[in-house]
Symmetry: C3
């Protein structure tokens, strides 16, 4: 199976394809980090859109190459729009990712996350507290992000040992990574490889950015600079994609 495992070289190749193909990513994104996520998708080469209007969602998802569903700032209206967007994406075979933000705060949100997971997302990504509640996601790539990111699907298990502590001090780096993963899925059908590559690219970018920064505020700007400028060599030299024993 080694041939099918993600590598730094594949990550560099997928980023290059994102930059050329300029995939459209529609984001049902919490209101807090819409701009930061849009900026992240843009600087890696994608084209973000963000509407959550029920009368427009169909047109926007129809134009998109991938969909990100983030459960932050969830309300009744947004639940309806999310269901509709997933229906459209699924019907046309577009990849989609669910980010079960703060399901550890709200039982009703956890129930909604489970409802969505039953609809077979391509990927589910959360932090440790969130993913421990979500549990197994049999038909999806499961990602738990943190100081080390853990990814697995039915047969493979991978970890990404890149990143920087300041990522946890900038609101929305996890949400942004959901958008970048979607852009990578849009050009790479192997979802585990796409996601591992996206997380390696964001993690290495964070490491490069931290060297240019004095704290979390200047880090945020430098992180976008690094995501924009990161080269294939940077990825090959710094990515730490490790394959776990099954």
């Amino acid at each position: 199976m080694t041939g099918d495992l993600p590598t730094a070289a594949k990550a560099a190749d997928i980023l290059e394809r994102v930059r050329k193909a300029r995939p459209r990513v529609h984001c049902l994104m919490n209101t807090v980090v819409q701009k930061f996520t849009a900026d992240g998708i843009t600087v890696v080469g994608g084209i973000p859109s963000m509407t959550t209007s029920p009368e427009e969602i169909e047109s926007f998802v129809a134009k998109a190459d991938a969909l990100t569903v983030n459960l932050g700032t969830l309300d009744a209206e947004r639940r309806k729009v999310i269901r509709l967007a997933i229906e459209i994406a699924s019907a046309s075979g577009k990849p989609w990712i669910v980010d079960p933000v703060h399901v550890d705060y709200s039982p009703s949100r956890l129930a909604f996350a489970r409802e969505l997971i039953a609809l077979s997302p391509t990927i589910v990504r959360g932090n440790r507290a969130e993913m421990s509640l979500v549990g197994d996601v049999p038909n999806a790539v499961r990602i738990e992000t943190g100081p080390v990111d853990h990814l697995r699907d039915a047969i493979r298990s991978v970890r990404i040992v890149n990143g920087h502590a300041w990522m946890a001090k900038v609101t929305g780096t996890g949400c942004l990574s959901g958008g970048v993963i979607a852009a990578f899925m849009a050009v790479e059908k192997d979802a585990l490889t796409a996601a591992a590559s996206a997380l390696a690219v964001t993690g290495v970018s964070a490491e490069l950015a931290a060297k240019q920064s004095k704290g979390p505020g200047t880090f945020e700007a430098a992180f976008l600079d690094a995501l924009s400028a990161i080269s294939g060599d940077d990825i090959v030299n710094h990515a730490r994609i490790e394959h776990e024993q099954g």
Copy 2:
């Protein structure tokens, strides 16, 4: 007609008047870039407000000197508020600008943009894809922004050849320019001259900012610095306002 054409000297003068008069600009702005737009209006000298609440919009528009209507993240509630805000602005003769964001994604949004344009906005501003769908806007100043900005009204045609490629990598620079144009319209009745001046000021600021930046993330911060600090000499020395042959 040369005397009525925008010039760098006029742009410098209008910016100075914005800084002195501190015009209030109410923005019906998409949720993605509300803060970035508010920051842009503030650093050029205006006072932004952003509410989209139907029960408060009348008070806010009544206090404003100009209105920006941005069609991003549009929903049914926002359509109602936009109609109400335009009615109040029109009744009191306040200038207003429409930004038909992403009408190329959504037929219902395009129809709504056309409804608003029939209400005689002072200015309509979009990118090439958006403005090609919008078509002619007989009673308004028509602006198509891009690497070169094209402005025209019934008798004049002007282009602004300032700016920097990183503007396209920062979500919301176009939306922000809509807010800055509104601030300039609030102090200058000739809408084409106000808009050309605003776009020259933002374009030159972007050029100055790019020299202080390492990528789109640091550029965003430097752009706000430059918009805040730009001098009349900067404008006169760098603005490229060209008059097209009729």
Copy 3:
């Protein structure tokens, strides 16, 4: 009473306690500055949350240690959620702060602010225009922020003479300070001392940040850096907490 007055040493101590305790702050925050406020709370050591959904607010406030109620971008839905959140916070004795943003723009918002103030918030904070309309707040700490911040409760009166002019050029510094005050209230029961300490910490951070900045854009990033890195010595050396004669 001197022993009960806020001092720089107490401010340094309270910040240290925030960093250790990592209090959760739920924010009913205007949509414009949600991320900036969340970043501010995070870098001082707190954990922010931001939902305004009526079906989730109870769970989020139940998990929080303090509540910030900001009246920007107010609509009917948000009024309901605010009332609900305050009821839950009050019932469990959690401290909460009201920020009557732009009550000088909207009579209906001013009436709502008065309704909330009658519910006995721990603190009310606004700028001069806002607080002059709000008037006295008998059972709360009253804060009027500006170039100099004025704080008073039933028996004490304090002013903070820290800060930098660029704070007024960055949208949301006042809103952010409301979030930081909440984090400080979560670990310090004396609300006037908590608030004076939070404002001294943000004010000194702004002064340190301005030295690293070229304008309001780079200042915003440097301000978050400074809030993250500020030391007890920085506070003791630079905080200007003055006690007014009663």
